[in-house]
């Protein structure tokens, strides 16, 4: 599988005062495959934006290197194939369509194609009726959507989005989510940094969690959400008192047991005259995973298929 984005042992240090250094990224390595939606998570100050700015060539790594669509970070021509939306989007105060056309023209678009694409992307983000309004008068959510439009206008192969839905209302969020899913269907790669874990859980194929500049989790979203340690069992014909923490719902008793004692639990159900109707690895929310990994300072861990 070819790679859309690759960080190879990258470290980034900031010099605040003479003698004082802050390490934002520490020996960070990550590979994003083409055609996937990749969720990039981490608490504030984890180094997410630094990693994104390095990939876009805004910053230079202190150590290590990386590649964007096969070219070293900072290669201007490659950025023509990339769409980028920064956190706290800041754009020039112009009419929305003119603004989108300005950014498209910087990527070499011109003529009828420029006109057509600017209309298409404004329509895609739900701003076509505001195309002739100055973005200086836009709300933060609308501004974010114009930012997304300028990122999409050159029909990029790779979208790098830093908090693309943070200021959006639920309706707009759903439409952007659908837009991203459509983009994946078209074979585009999406690198998505977000604090909205429910969004990430819904659309991302793989997820990486960054904490204090280090990669602490990486894996398929489904694998991360399934706990290998706990199994959830549903049974009928038994009393809920038989297992600690069991609940009854529609006549079914549900409880979780450590995977290592799963067999013993099933035998206990049978011994009590009951029947096991369902047995699943316990599913956690991404929020639980996130809290688990960011509250500890463990070494980089990889989960599932890489």
């Amino acid at each position: 599988m070819s790679l859309a984005l690759e960080f190879h042992q990258i470290s980034k240090e900031y010099r605040n005062f003479p003698g004082r250094r802050l390490r934002a990224l520490d020996d960070f390595s990550l590979q994003v495959e083409k055609g996937e939606i990749f969720g990039f998570l981490g608490p504030n100050g984890a180094g997410k934006s630094t990693a994104i700015h390095l990939a876009m060539g805004f910053m230079l790594p202190s150590h290590g290197n990386g590649r964007l669509l096969g070219e070293p970070f900072g290669h201007a021509k490659t950025r023509r194939r990339v769409g980028f939306l920064a956190e706290n989007v800041a754009l020039y105060h112009r009419r929305a369509q003119r603004l989108v056309q300005f950014y498209a023209a910087l990527n070499g678009m011109h003529g009828a194609e420029l006109e057509k694409r600017s209309v298409e992307v404004l329509d895609a983000v739900g701003l076509l009726e505001h195309a002739s309004r100055n973005v200086g008068k836009f709300s933060r959510g609308m501004l974010q959507r114009v930012g997304l439009a300028q990122a999409l206008v050159n029909d990029p192969e790779l979208l790098i989005l830093d908090e693309p839905t943070s200021a959006l209302d639920p309706l707009a969020r759903v439409s952007i989510r659908e837009l991203l899913l459509r983009a994946r269907e078209q074979g585009k790669t999406i690198f998505l940094s977000s604090h909205l874990l429910s969004e990430v859980e819904l659309i991302c194929d793989r997820v990486a969690v960054l904490h204090r500049g280090k990669l602490v989790r990486l894996g398929r979203t489904a694998d991360l959400l399934h706990s290998a340690d706990q199994t959830e069992i549903s049974a009928r014909g038994i009393s809920a008192n038989l297992f600690l923490g069991a609940t009854t719902e529609n006549g079914f008793v549900r409880f979780a047991v450590p995977t290592s004692s799963q067999r013993a639990a099933i035998e206990k159900v049978w011994a009590a005259g009951g029947e096991v109707v369902r047995l699943n690895p316990m599913r956690r929310s991404l929020e639980q995973v996130f809290l688990e990994v960011t509250s500890s300072q463990e070494a980089p861990t990889k989960v599932g298929e890489l």
Binding site: G47, T50, H53, M59, F84, L106, G108, G147
Partner: protein
């Protein structure tokens, strides 16, 4: 070349209000000049013209020294450099933008100078020659300021620019009178300041040519530095 021009025009557009205020100021002074009693007050008229003319060098330092800082602080630079725009192209756009802004000022001043000074006996050709000197000086001054602003904040960039531009004047007076041409912004500005009704303007094309060459050299230095600096600071 297209991204460079887009960035240049965008720079002028973003600075349209200060530019407009400066142009209106020039026009206002010109209208005031048209109402003076010639030839009795023609020396005053020339003095004001020279004063207003020399300001363009200061404006170019202001525009050049604050351009990158403003773009970085507003984070608008990110969306531009996320496109197919190399850093040297971005700087070229700013240099051309600053020069365009100052050129507009010089052109307006040339027009108004022709209206006001022409009838009082100052050669209109000389007015435009002085504007060429000023345009060259402001292009150089703006580029030096831009070069400093790639790694300093606007205040220190302006200070650094002042040192570079005024050092030849100090050397000219203390070491050798031919050293004034090293960085010819001073020399070109002095040409404007020394102009008078009594003697025709003596233009030497050497400092103008040198100013243009040095503008390119300082632009090259800017790009060399700008390629090596982080342009975004993490939000965290």
């Amino acid at each position: 070349m297209k991204p460079v021009l887009l960035i240049a025009v965008n720079f002028v557009r973003e600075q349209r209000w200060p530019i407009l205020v400066l142009l209106l100021w020039v026009l206002l002074l010109a209208f005031q000049g048209l109402m003076t009693e010639l030839p009795r007050e023609r020396e005053d008229l020339l003095f004001i013209f020279k004063q207003v003319a020399v300001y363009v060098v200061v404006f170019s330092v202001f525009f050049g020294g604050s351009a990158i800082y403003n773009e970085r602080r507003s984070r608008r630079i990110l969306a531009v450099l996320a496109k197919d725009v190399a850093r040297h192209q971005y700087l070229s756009g700013l240099v051309i933008g600053v020069t365009m802004a100052c050129g507009l000022y010089c052109f307006t001043l040339g027009l108004t100078g022709s209206w006001t000074l022409g009838p009082s006996g100052f050669q209109i050709r000389d007015v435009w020659l002085l504007m060429v000197c000023l345009a060259a000086a402001s292009a150089l001054a703006g580029t030096v300021a831009l070069m400093f602003s790639t790694f300093l904040n606007p205040f220190f960039a302006a200070g650094g620019t002042a040192v570079v531009l005024l050092l030849p004047a100090v050397l000219e007076r203390t070491v050798n009178r031919n050293l004034g041409i090293i960085v010819p912004a001073w020399e070109l500005t002095a040409t404007v300041v020394k102009s008078s009704f009594d003697s025709p303007v003596q233009i030497s094309w050497t400092p103008i040519l040198l100013a243009l060459i040095e503008t390119v050299l300082f632009w090259l230095m800017s790009t060399w530095i700008f390629k090596r600096v982080d342009i975004a600071v993490a939000v965290e």
